[in-house]
Amino acid sequence: MSPDAAGRWEVVIGLEVHCELRTETKLFCGCRNAFGEEPNTNVCPVCLGLPGSLPVLNRQSVEYAMRIGEALHCDIRPSIFHRKNYFYPDMPKDYQVSQYDEPINSDGWLELPNGKRIGVTRAHMEEDTGKSTHMGGGGRIGDATHSLVDYNRAGVPLVEIVSEPEIGSAEEARAYVSELRAILVATGASDGKMEEGSLRVDANVSVRPRGSTALGTRCEIKNMNSLRSLGRAVEYETGRQIDLLESGDRVVQETRHWNEDEGRTSSMRSKEEADDYRYFPEPDLVPLAPDDQWRKAVRDSLAPMPSDRRRALASAAHTEPAAVALLVEQDLDGLVLAAIGAGADPRIALNRAANEVAADPDGAARLSAESFARVVTLEATGKLTATQSKQVLAAMLAGESDDPEAIAEDRGFEAMDTSALQAVVDQVIEANPGPWQRFLDGDPKVSGLFIGQVMKKTQGQADGKAVTRILQERRDG
């Protein structure tokens, strides 16, 4: 694909994210919902779909689904379950209980860190299938000699979150999933682990002439197991479709499989071969109609969402929400907000949190906002230089003490008094007459040389800002 071609087309992406709910038990029975256990140990007549067994809806899963709905600004409505009929060995009843035209959550949105809103069409409840491992052949059922099926996952509660086709790039797709994952974790409904399959993403990708409003023919891409592979798969698929259209071909609507090793997608099945799922209302379950009281309790129990937290921190730190996205993702916004609340300088607090604190998550967990505020304030008032402040903070993170003054004293850190510093600066000016002339001629870049020299002579104890001030005094004086 030439750059020209890329300029002529734009990609439209809609994402379907399956989120396993971290309930104690499965969606319709009392079996434990746990990952990575001995195969076929968390099973019973209900999740094995044995003849005569019947489903009973897990209240906790409804609560989690409602939390997700609230967090995604959805309408939460009375809903019903449907059966989606198709044959597959890891689906014990050969139908999946899911929600179809009356889902619990619909018409919501999600806000990316850059402020763009992506519409959420629906977020409905359904049961997971078991897990097949196809032995022999290429790992697919068609060429396997035999298959092993683990039904521990069968009946695990899922919420499927379907976005509007409003995502405009692979990068934005990653940002959407990253944000969605943060939201799901914040609701407590999910552990967000893509690598364990707790979050599974399918992408509907189509391209259209740039500026067009009609949607092109889409392909659904499956089997992307990380944010990285989502980005790669969407990039690849976009290029594939543009190449087809540029060469006068057309895109065939189909499901395509992302192969991580080969870095490409390949056809799984076309729309013509697609199953007719024969959806109909599940007669073994009754309609689900959470009352206002329950909905209110769910709403009240929700922790603040990432977008709210970004806004709160950005406002307190006089910056943009996008600038603090990483801090919120690292769960350090509470620390910074509390430090600012305790009087710390916002800019220094953001800097130290984003660098030193973020680099040591274990240490961050035991760092109190109050001590953090104190070390930031020591730096802001010039009692410690930036270098000293970082060292004190490192000692606090390492668990040495939570008293920054004590650490500073122990290290012998004192901001040098002005006269001593002036003497050092004068020595350096004397030793570098050429650069000093350039500084006097108005070249600001040379100041770095002087600061560096002073730092070297003081073993980093000097405050860079104070050095700059003295240099200016010498020049102007």
């Binding site: 003849p51 009973v56 050969d94």
Partner: protein
């Protein structure tokens, strides 16, 4: 002294032992079962063991349940732990459920003694037991005739005196029609009154478990034991079992009873005549009886033959050879599915799976399944309208008495018509029961159907009790 009420009383008071009672019934089974074939499985050893347990408890002065020592037959689509449960289908070959149905558990606790698992039309699809993979059951009153179906084995077991009680399941008449054909009482309770947990599904929104017995009081007793909320069935009504025993002898004085006009049309004249006589005796007993139109009932059969197969097509998907039951040896998964299901299911089951699959297909759903659900709503509405003026309704249970083997096997539609009077109650979820009332011109029993609104079991048993009293009096006088 053959009723469940009497047996339970005698065993409880020590007047008789459960062991004697069970031997008496096993003896009857030994004598006539080879001819009748009511059972897929006779549980002689287990029954003796259960009876001995009851006797031990009585001797020890421990409390025993309400059905202590009463022999009972279970339709073979009710799950019994560790015992084959076949639905009279080859596809469940070798499968033993690892759990008991809720009704089975409640009956065990009540002290009932299971004597066997009874034959049925495969997966309860049929009206004659001719669709059983293990051969038909014969009508004990005339072995050239069918016992009705699908719970033909349970009806025959009670009629033959193999057990005073039996359980069946009723999706479109599968308890009431065989009860009528065999001259016994059969009850389909309100949908949700009895837990379906452990009943192997035919059509989930219509299936309901219910009693067979020789007397109305015995059915009342059995229903009291098995009804009541079960948290394992989401469609189970959250309220306790009703009290029905007093209703049986409460009489019908002052009750308003409607004779459903539409369900007297197209009925054999001798059957219709018995139903009118039943109306007369109720009237004589103090009820106010009138004809009433419940117009939408005539569409019941058509709606049923879309809804029931649609649900069945989904419910029976799981018999795929992967996990249990029959599995054909084939080279790939699709061939295994196809060959397993081709070999495991009989023709009527296949017919209904195809009907139902078609009715749910994209592009046809609205015209078939959707339309049938709308008819279902209409039927319920028409019933509700009738119940504004009546406490209970009356109709024939079936258009004919028991027919001869083979009479309708070549024509599925003629067979389906056998359920025309019983289907509307399933679609509405209402209770209905069949009470024997006289005989047809062929000397075979006629069943009168008593219908009641949802949870109207008490009034239904009042009417049934009055009909039984009148029928018994007539027999005594004759």
């Amino acid at each position: 002294m053959k009723t469940a009420v009497d047996i339970a009383e005698a065993v409880r008071t020590g007047e008789r032992t459960a062991a004697e009672v069970v031997e008496e019934h096993l003896g009857e089974i030994e004598r006539r079962e080879p001819e009748i074939h009511a059972f897929n499985l006779v549980l002689a050893d287990q029954a003796r063991q259960a009876a001995a347990d009851v006797d031990r408890r009585v001797a020890a002065g421990e409390s025993v349940g309400r059905l202590a020592g009463v022999p009972l037959a279970l339709k073979d689509n009710l799950c019994t732990r560790g015992l084959p449960t076949t639905c009279s289908s080859k596809i469940l070959d070798g499968w033993c459920p690892p759990y008991d149905a809720t009704v089975v558990e409640r009956l065990r606790v009540a002290g009932a003694v299971f004597v066997g698992k009874t034959n049925l039309d495969e997966f309860a699809m049929g009206s004659s037991t001719e669709n059983s993979a293990f051969g038909p059951t014969l009508n004990p009153l005339d072995t050239s005739r069918v016992p009705g179906g699908s719970s033909g084995g349970s009806a025959a077991a009670v009629a033959a005196g193999f057990s005073p009680l039996a359980l069946g399941s009723d999706t479109g008449g599968s308890i009431r029609q065989p009860a009528a054909f065999c001259g016994v009482v059969g009850v389909k309770p309100t949908y949700g009154a009895v837990s379906r947990y452990g009943l192997i599904a035919f059509a989930s929104s219509l299936d309901q478990i219910g009693p067979f017995s020789a007397t109305v009081a015995d059915s009342a007793l059995l229903l009291e034991v098995i009804a009541g909320h079960d948290p394992l069935d989401s469609t189970s009504i959250p309220q306790p079992a009703p009290s029905l025993m007093e209703a049986v002898e409460a009489g019908v004085d002052g009750l308003r009873i409607g004779l459903i006009r539409e369900l007297l049309e197209g009925i054999d004249p001798d059957v219709a005549a018995r139903v009118r006589e039943a109306a007369d005796v109720l009237s004589a007993a103090g009820a106010k009886v009138e004809e009433v139109s419940v117009a939408a009932t005539i569409y019941g059969l058509s709606a049923y033959y879309l809804i029931a197969p649609a649900e069945a097509s989904s419910n029976l998907s799981r018999y795929d050879g992967v996990r249990y039951g029959l599995r054909a040896d084939a080279s790939d998964i699709t061939a295994m599915y196809e060959q397993t299901r081709a070999a495991g299911f009989g023709p009527e089951v296949k017919r209904r799976i195809m009907l139902g699959t078609y009715a749910l297909s994209a592009g046809y759903y609205d015209a078939y399944y959707g339309q049938a659900q709308r008819v279902r709503t209409l039927i319920t509405r028409d019933f509700d309208a009738a119940y504004e003026h009546f406490d209970a309704l009356l109709s024939p249970t079936a258009p004919t008495t028991a027919f001869a083997f083979g009479a309708k096997t070549e024509n599925p539609l003629a067979m389906y018509l056998s359920d025309v009077c019983t289907i509307p109650s399933n679609l509405a979820g209402h209770p209905a029961m069949s009470v024997p009332f006289g005989t047809g011109d062929d000397g075979m029993p006629v069943g009168v159907q008593v219908l009641a609104p949802a949870l109207g079991e008490t009034v239904m048993f009042r009417v049934a009790g009055a009909l039984e009293a009148a029928a018994t009096a007539a027999t005594v006088m004759a």
